[in-house]
């Protein structure tokens, strides 16, 4: 920089590189940001990942279609039910398998509960990244615990559910599930109000998050962002509405969108989505029919030669599975369209020019799950 202005003291500064991560308290996994800093200001940022790469796509190529389901649990470990469902939708599309009515409803209930659980985590950790020392995240993990209890009841695990099956779900929900869910639905709006009181209008949070890390509408589309990140930028695009899979066309719900596309909007969109999910849940348990939960599917599924792309609106965005079948019992190609992986594309653009503290905030607001990014 040779532009020395007159009568201005030019202090010779030098940019320096800081590695945030791979092991850092707020990188949500093993993620590394190579930041070039000028003092506190971020000049450039390069995301480096792959520390958690397990070669899931290769592993899936030698497993049967059913035994790929546990693999999908390990993609986005904060929302495994959605992953299960997305994969099952893709296989059902590939093999042309119908799903019983009751199973569809159970799927919707479980997927919406999963969305709430995942958003609770996302919002909680985002607020934690702002520096609200553990309080919001612990409150929200408490409510997530209530949801995990329900999942535990349904499928016997709290983290890797392996619940959805091709052609339905693995088992019917137990009879104590619906009363517990009703209790949860009754309580949850009050909890949400409490979180709102805790930090929604907090002046410091507004100062920190409003106008920070703006992702403009056009860039958000071009970058392929999806989920709350895309909607916070003002694009009313929700696959539940745009391309209703399962039975989402039967429910009434709104799509919350942001206006500015900043961190605060992303936080608001997630909170509003939780409320909409509660709305869907209420409708779903009202109409829940009786009947089978799993259609007759052979033990080893052999879909016809072809390919299918099944997608759904996961908590973090559009989760898609691109499957290619060669007629055998294992997928020929198993590709995951991981939403957070693609949302990361915009990270450097959002961060440039902001300070280190903002970088953490922006990173937290796009809600990353490294299990999905690295696969």
């Amino acid at each position: 920089m040779e532009t020395t202005k007159t009568k201005e003291i030019v202090i010779n500064t030098e940019p320096f590189v800081v590695n945030f991560g791979p092991a850092h308290p707020s990188t949500h996994g093993v993620f590394r940001m190579r930041m070039t800093l000028d003092g506190e200001v971020i000049m450039d940022m390069e995301p480096v990942f792959g520390y958690l790469h397990r070669g899931l796509e290769k592993l899936a190529e030698e497993r049967t279609y059913t035994s790929c389901i546990p693999l999908t649990d390990r993609l986005d470990y904060l929302a495994p039910m959605s992953n299960n469902l997305a994969y099952c939708l893709a296989v059902e599309k590939l093999a042309g398998i119908a799903v019983p009515e009751r199973a569809e409803y159970i799927r919707v209930i479980i997927a919406e509960l999963q969305r709430i659980a995942s958003h609770l985590c996302a919002v909680g950790f985002f607020l934690n990244d702002c520096g609200a020392f553990m309080t919001p995240v612990l409150y929200m993990l408490r409510e997530r615990e209530r949801i995990l209890d329900l999942f535990d009841m349904v499928c016997g695990q709290r983290l890797t559910y392996n619940y959805m099956r091709v052609g339905g779900v693995s088992q019917d929900i137990p009879e104590e599930f619906i009363p517990a869910l009703k209790k949860f639905l009754k309580e949850m709006p009050g909890w949400l109000d409490e979180y709102e009181r805790l930090l929604k209008d907090n002046e410091i949070l507004l100062a920190r998050a409003k106008g920070v890390g703006i992702l403009p509408r056009d860039l958000a589309i071009n970058i392929g962002a999806s989920g709350p990140v895309l909607r916070a930028s003002g694009v009313r695009w929700d696959i539940r509405r745009a391309d209703p899979y399962s039975i989402y066309d039967r429910f009434e719900f709104d799509i919350p969108v942001g206006t500015a596309g900043d961190c605060y909007d992303r936080y608001r969109v997630r909170v509003e989505e939780m409320r909409q999910s509660l709305r869907i849940l209420r409708q779903a348990i009202k109409d829940l029919p009786r009947g089978e939960v799993r259609s007759e599917v052979p033990h080893l599924i052999r879909p016809p030669i072809g390919e299918a792309y099944g997608h759904l609106e996961g908590p973090r965005g559009e989760l898609g599975f691109y499957l290619v079948s060669d007629g055998s019992i294992a997928p020929y190609r198993f590709h995951v369209r991981a939403p957070t992986f693609i949302n990361l594309t915009a990270l450097a653009d959002m961060m440039r020019g902001w300070k280190i503290a903002d970088a953490i905030l922006i990173f937290g607001s796009i809600d990353i799950c490294m299990g999905e990014v690295d696969r």
Binding site: R63, T64, T66, S67, I69, P70, D73, T135, R142, E145, R146, D149, L150, D152, M153, V154, C155, G156, Q157, T160, N162, S170, Q171, D172, P174, E176, A180, K183, F184, E187, G190, W191, E194, R197, L198, L199, K200, D201, N202, E203, I204, L205, L206, A207, H299
Partner: protein, 168 residues
């Protein structure tokens, strides 16, 4: 930062945190206080029924980790298969439960027990003798609703009064 709200937001937040002082925490002190796990718990062991198993090996095929080893021999007298070796390496097992689902003879179960830490890797290798059902090693109701009905009711946080919001 603009103080357009004159600190009301901060005051609201402070009221929420101070109110928690009056509520009971939800934490359970684990070794002393125990919660009942789900009736469908996929506990960290497999339980195998010697009498029902025919040695067909469906479970081993369903296991995508390859944690189940089974070898059979023919029993010339009764003219049927006999299971020679049945081993599960619970160190590899991911407890997905696909083997339990696959078993056509209801001979394989997951356990209700969840405390299975061992000091040696060898102890994680469970063979025929270790995998039988005993009163201490209860069978989980995963995929067997009739068995699930006999197990104690799962303790749920939604039923718990601790940590409750005081109704406004």
């Amino acid at each position: 930062m603009k103080f357009e709200r004159y600190g009301i937001g901060i005051a609201k937040g402070l009221s929420v945190t101070i109110r928690h002082l009056l509520r009971r925490p939800i934490t359970t002190q684990y070794p002393e206080q125990r919660l009942n796990p789900s009736r469908r718990t996929r506990g960290n062991e497999l339980i195998w029924d010697k009498d029902k198993c025919t040695g067909c090996g469906t479970c081993a095929k369903a296991c995508h980790i390859g944690a189940i080893h089974i070898s059979t021999s023919t029993n010339q007298v009764d003219n049927k298969y006999e299971v020679q070796k049945y081993e599960v390496d619970t160190g590899y097992c991911i407890f997905c439960g696909l083997c339990v689902e696959a078993c056509p003879f209801e001979a394989l179960f997951l356990s209700y027990d969840y405390e299975c830490a061992r000091y040696r890797r060898n102890d994680l290798l469970h063979d025929k003798e270790k995998m039988v059902e005993t009163p201490e090693r209860k069978v989980s109701g995963y995929f067997y609703p009739k068995r699930a009905a006999k197990l104690p009711k799962q303790s749920l946080l939604v039923d718990n009064d601790r940590g409750k919001r005081h109704e406004r």
